[in-house]
């Protein structure tokens, strides 16, 4: 079963992974967790904005694309919104499958497409003031790899 959540609250990765595994007859669970980085720019906080409605729709489409490519037992995507501090968790993508190959691949695919297709935007707060994060060409390249 697939589940998508957009929320301000933090999530418990361990609990999410065991729940995903228990709910499906899977041999493998692969996951990715993204965190807020302080980085060289000295980010003090980050605010995440999204497009309610389109976000859920695009994530569903991304998961459907992953399911066309690999046999998956279950997918869990959690993305936080609002103001987050360095070190905090932003996103969880977890995939349950029969074997590790499809679990690893689908997890990376979903994350690559989420970064370039799901309507979220990050604004960083630094000592210099607020700054909207620019999209990166390396993210476009990572997403394009899957279209070959």
């Amino acid at each position: 079963m697939d589940e998508i959540a957009i929320q301000t609250e933090d999530f418990d990765t361990g609990a999410e992974l065991s729940r995903l595994a228990k709910g499906s007859d899977c041999g493998a669970v692969a996951s990715f967790v993204g965190h807020v980085r302080q980085g060289a720019e000295g980010v003090q906080a980050m605010t995440l904005e999204h497009y309610p409605g389109m976000t859920e729709k695009s994530l569903k489409e991304i998961i459907a694309q992953a399911r066309e490519r690999w046999p998956l037992k279950g997918v869990r995507v959690i993305h936080r919104i609002g103001r987050l501090l360095p070190g905090e968790q932003i996103v969880l993508v977890a995939v349950a499958a029969g074997h590790r190959g499809e679990a690893f691949a689908a997890c990376e695919f979903i994350m690559d497409w989420l970064k370039t297709k799901a309507p979220f935007w990050k604004k960083e707060e630094t000592t210099e003031g607020g700054r909207w994060v620019d999209a990166r060409e390396s993210d476009d390249a990572a997403a394009a790899r899957w279209q070959q």
């Binding site: 993204g34 389109m54 729709k57 799901a118 309507p119």
Partner: protein, 83 residues
């Protein structure tokens, strides 16, 4: 016809506006709507100049040739940066 337009992130801040409802006398394409909005005085020129501006119609990414119809929800926004 009437369409709802949403603006997000840096674009929303530049315009000082998150959404509006626009009454149109004749059908037009997404690209023509963008040009119409960009021709407004003041900060609206950013709709013409913003690099890689993206758009969606009814919550699906859409190109400039997409025709708009009564009741459509249109959104303009910068490239996405989630994850």
């Amino acid at each position: 016809m009437s369409i709802r337009i949403l603006y997000f992130a840096a674009l929303r801040e530049s315009l000082g506006q998150a959404e509006e409802v626009l009454e149109l006398s004749a059908p037009l394409t997404l690209g023509a709507l963008r040009q119409t909005l960009a021709a407004r005085p003041g900060d609206w020129a950013v709709l013409g100049t913003m690099k890689n501006l993206k758009a969606a119609v009814n919550q699906t990414m859409a190109g400039p040739d997409t025709p708009l119809k009564d009741g459509d929800e249109v959104a303009f926004f910068p490239p996405v940066t989630g994850g």
